[in-house]
Amino acid sequence: MTKGNTTKQRRTETRNPDKQTQTKQTPKYLTGGKWLPAVYAVLFAIFAYYMLAIKNADYLYAAQEHSLFLFDKSFFDMLMVKPGALMAYLGCFCTQFFHEPIMGVCILIAIWIITYFLTIKAFKLNGWWSVLALLPIGALLCSETIIGYWLYYNKNQGYWFAPSIALMINMLAIWLYRCFKDLNKWAELGMIVVWCVVGYWATGWLGLATTLVMGLTGITKAPKSRILPLLTAIICIVVVPLIAYQYYSQMRIDDAWWVGMPIFETENVDATRPWYPFIALIVILLVLGTLSFTTKKILLKSKETFLLIGLQLVCLASIVWCELGADFDDYNYHAEFRIYRAIDENRWQDALDEVAAVPGDPTREIIMLRDVALNRLGKAGDYMFKYNNMSIPPYVYDSLDVHMAQTNSPLVYLNYSRLNFATRWCIENSVEHGFSNDSYKILTRCALVAGEYELARKYISILKKTLYYKEWAERYEPMLENPKLIEESPELSFILEYYRHFSNMLDSDEGLVEMYLLNYFSNTMNKDSKQLQVTTLNFAVQSKDIEKFWPRFFLYAHLHPGEPMPIHYQEAAYLYGNLEHQVDISTLPFDQERIVNRYASFQQLSNSYVQQGKSAEEVGELMKPAYGDTFWWFYFFCRGLSSY
């Protein structure tokens, strides 16, 4: 009791010397560093949440649609064919939670925050130095949003989580290594060897990088004592992949040291930009491993203080700046995801609302998806030119050649019931970039409509092993035993109606989806199905081909007696009748106000602009506000569009 009191008294004395004396004699130190890690963790979490859950929710939903995780051992076996594949497996597991983007983002942020604190531990980044631990996870944040259209060409399974989980595990390993390091030399060397083997098996290239970091740890402090660990690390890094190559029959020797590193390559393009975050990650880890960070107290207003505060600002600013730069925020890119999802879920009007909200010129993909929705709602004849039909190519930051065959074609082909083409592109794309929830959903519907029930059962069985598409699969499953349900399904009966009225032939789309559909439907004549006939007329109108238009127009009139003629069909008929006089249109009951009078004013205005010496392009621009919603404007001024 007495002893305790005495100690307490001494402590109090130490902490509370005479206040006046302290102010004068004790120097002021930079304080507050204790709370910084927590503050930074919260700030980073908020920023990451904003960038991902708020700005990129549509993209992340699409990411999980293009990914796959099956609760089945065969899926695990299928993936475990390379070092680092465990991360791909765990990455795929976590990616599925982007189905609820907020949940997926929260999981990702949780991994990052754990990684952040492990990094602090691993590299002893206490207090003010803890800002440096934000850099690795900052690089990973950039990697999430940087890929743009590479989403469709991404061969890196589990991409959105795999590097993050791998980094977390490797930071834990470095921390443990630090603990081992101080035990004895042999324990340290043993840890390097063991981690090179285990880390490489589990996390691939990052395991090797971590082994090097272990070898480099503290080299600036005591270079001589680090020679043996560094040598051990280097030997392991060289030898372990060479040995592994003998056991993995699906890994190129050239890739052995980079296995697991996300790579974005196609036949003609080797993208470097999506690689930047990972290059940054390696550099940051090596620098953190090489340098040692002082824990001494730093005087306020000293040069070191300014440097340390500057470091905080530079690190925080660079993370924000890099992420804002890495964020692929092209409006059309995001709109495509939203429209695609709406169509996949049969929310046709939502898809059209999204199309209407596009601020500038949309991509051809958006226009194709729009036409799918209009076709479904039976509104194409009245609305297809009410939307902006001018288009721009998809925005890419490198020479990536985006083709619709590799992006949305399976869904578009499915909706036009070109089932073999939908199946073909699903399979081709999946062979190249991996099967996904999206591909299985399309393959299921194709097989059901085509009457391939055993095949559909196969795809349904697979989807039933997913977490989020099990319910979707169970909705379609009863159709396997009772095909009448297909006819009763609003979604599939529409596709089935086309399918029944198609004839078979040998053909190819040559990878040009839009041109194929335009040529196929505008050249098809069918009087047995009103639905198919309307579609052939819509495509004939879009083809601007007078010869194709008239027979389909009159067939439409014949099949729809007493019904009002959709406005764009009237516009086309009135224009062609006046242009070529092949068909006597004087007896056709055109809408006086919306067609006859409006066409007269259209002509009058365009003639006046021409007389003013304006170019066709200028005339088109000037007339767009008043007549951009007509077939006439589309016919004369919507030109030079290139599909892809």
């Binding site: 064919v81 196609t266 073909r424 081709e428 391939e452 198609f502 078979n504």
Partner: protein
């Protein structure tokens, strides 16, 4: 205290072990169903060899738990893991040994709710003759132009072990995809074997003993490099077809794709001398699918007669006429000393019946030929009506091997080295993914019901999205490693020389 803890631990461990090793009990009371159960793969009343791995299956009947009793005489074992039947390999061997030349009885009981149902028992017949211990196949997604994840794999039939012979992942890059195909062996042995690589790092990989070489079989005199191969049974010679292959897509038909030869000829490659010469190149004939008789004195092949009207419209003509291409089977005598070929003679006239015969293979005893017969064309893997037929080479009478066939495509037949087993690449499961089916072919020339290649997980085929292409029997595994093949693949292909045919 310590003693007590130890005892508890032992009890817990033993309980876990017992639960893990527990067998389902066959119920004493049950309702009876007068039909056999629906099981996948369908192993009801199949005939299997005595050296096959366990025939694990899943029961597709309403219920959550199955109890299956497999018995041979008084020897019996019970199995059941949910609705799956996973058979212990050692017990299976014992059952096979005892049932050799006889039958196993399989009784299936399913628990639905609290009620057990007993289905009509079925038999698994066990033949006296073994099967070759290995088969190999190409694992390929049923894609059309993309070929990522392609492998030629070998499977031990006595176990479930499967390993890659060669995997294109060892060499492909995004810039250079690589197609691999047409693995072939001399007389079921793997010390003389080959396969092709196309697109990236192209060439034909030849194995001669422990030696590897990659050759380029294309010369200016022939229309393509070698395609469909046939090793001569005794000599270091390979007969190849050379083919200009095209594919078109059906817009509606569930066959999906039509693969056609625009032109095709036959060549012979001398492996030792690296020389090729033309065997047959009639411009009005599409010769393909060579195969040797067991004694090596006859070369069989298929050929369709087709006359182009306009050379500049060949593609359009052959596509438009795709339903009128009918292949017959022909034979030409072969002199093993001079390498001269005799005149062709018609062996099977499919065209006269508006049919098309492809992929002939001769039995090791030389008495029979099996081939795939469809309505038209040469690529029967996409033709649902295609069946395997048997031709008696003495009487030239043909018959449909109904026990082996299905309503879907059955193609690429082959005999085992003892001639008692016939394997086919069948799409009967779902019309899209090709699976190996094996049937017993007895000494009287009767074919028995085929069984699907067994897998450890009975649901394997549901989830596995690759086709088993060109299944071939082998008497031994391939000795060259995939890495050795990959190293050779990266080398430049050796050009072969063209020489005039001995007949000319």
């Amino acid at each position: 205290m310590m003693q007590h803890t130890k005892s508890v631990l032992i009890v817990v461990v033993l309980t876990i072990v017992l639960i893990a090793c527990g067998r389902p009990t066959v119920p004493d009371s049950y309702q009876t169903e007068s039909r056999p159960p629906k099981v996948m793969p369908d192993y009801t009343d199949v005939t299997v060899p005595a050296n096959i791995c366990p025939l694990n299956f899943r029961v597709y009947e309403p219920g959550k738990q199955v109890a299956v009793r497999i018995s041979v005489g008084d020897l019996q074992y019970t199995y059941g893991d949910g609705m799956k039947v996973l058979i212990d390999e050692n017990e299976w061997s014992t059952l096979l040994e005892k049932a050799k030349g006889g039958n196993m009885k399989v009784e299936v009981f399913v628990n639905e709710g609290n009620q057990w149902k007993a289905y009509q028992p079925f038999s698994i017949h066990v033949a006296k003759e073994d099967i070759d211990p290995y088969i190999s196949y190409r694992l390929i997604q049923p894609s059309y132009v993309a070929y990522g994840q392609l492998a030629i794999a070998q499977r031990n039939l006595t176990t479930y072990d499967e390993t890659d012979i060669y995997n294109n992942a060892l060499v492909i890059t995004p810039e250079t995809g690589q197609c691999i195909n047409c693995h072939s062996y001399q007389n079921y042995r793997t010390d003389h074997m080959m396969f092709h690589m196309r697109e990236g790092l192209p060439g034909t990989m030849i194995v001669e003993g422990n030696q590897l070489k990659k050759v380029d079989l294309k010369t200016p005199e022939i229309i393509s490099a070698g395609v469909y191969p046939a090793w001569h049974p005794t000599q270091n010679l390979i007969a190849f077809s050379t083919n200009l292959i095209g594919q078109s897509f059906h817009t509606k038909d569930i066959a999906k794709v039509e693969v056609q030869d625009k032109e095709s000829d036959l060549i012979l490659y001398d492996v030792t001398k690296d020389e090729v010469f033309t065997v047959s190149n009639d411009s009005n004939e599409l010769e393909t699918f060579p195969t040797w008789s067991a004694d090596g004195n006859t070369l069989y092949y298929c050929s369709a007669h087709f006359e182009y009207e306009n050379d500049s419209l060949k593609d359009a003509e052959i596509i438009n006429d795709y339903r009128n291409l009918h292949y017959n089977i022909y034979a030409r005598d072969f002199n093993q000393q001079t390498h001269e070929f005799g005149e062709r003679r018609l062996i099977y006239d499919a065209a006269s019946e508006n049919k098309s015969a492809t992929l002939p293979r001769v039995s090791p005893d030389g008495k029979y030929m099996v081939f795939s017969l469809g309505n038209f064309g040469c690529f029967h893997v996409w033709h649902a009506e295609a069946d395997i037929w048997l031709l008696n080479l003495e009487t030239l009478e043909a018959q449909n091997l109904e026990a082996l066939n299905s309503e879907r495509s059955d193609s690429y037949p082959s005999f085992s080295s003892n001639g008692r087993w016939i394997m086919t690449a069948s799409r009967r499961d779902d019309n899209n993914y090709t699976r190996p089916y094996i049937a017993y072919f007895d000494a009287q020339g009767t074919c028995h019901k085929a069984f699907e290649l067994p897998q450890r997980d009975p649901e394997f085929y549901t989830l596995f999205l690759r086709s088993f292409n060109r299944p071939e029997f082998m008497t031994e595994p391939v000795g060259i490693t995939p890495e050795q093949f990959a190293a050779e693949a990266k080398k430049d292909a050796r050009k072969v020389k063209y020489k005039t045919a001995p007949n000319d």
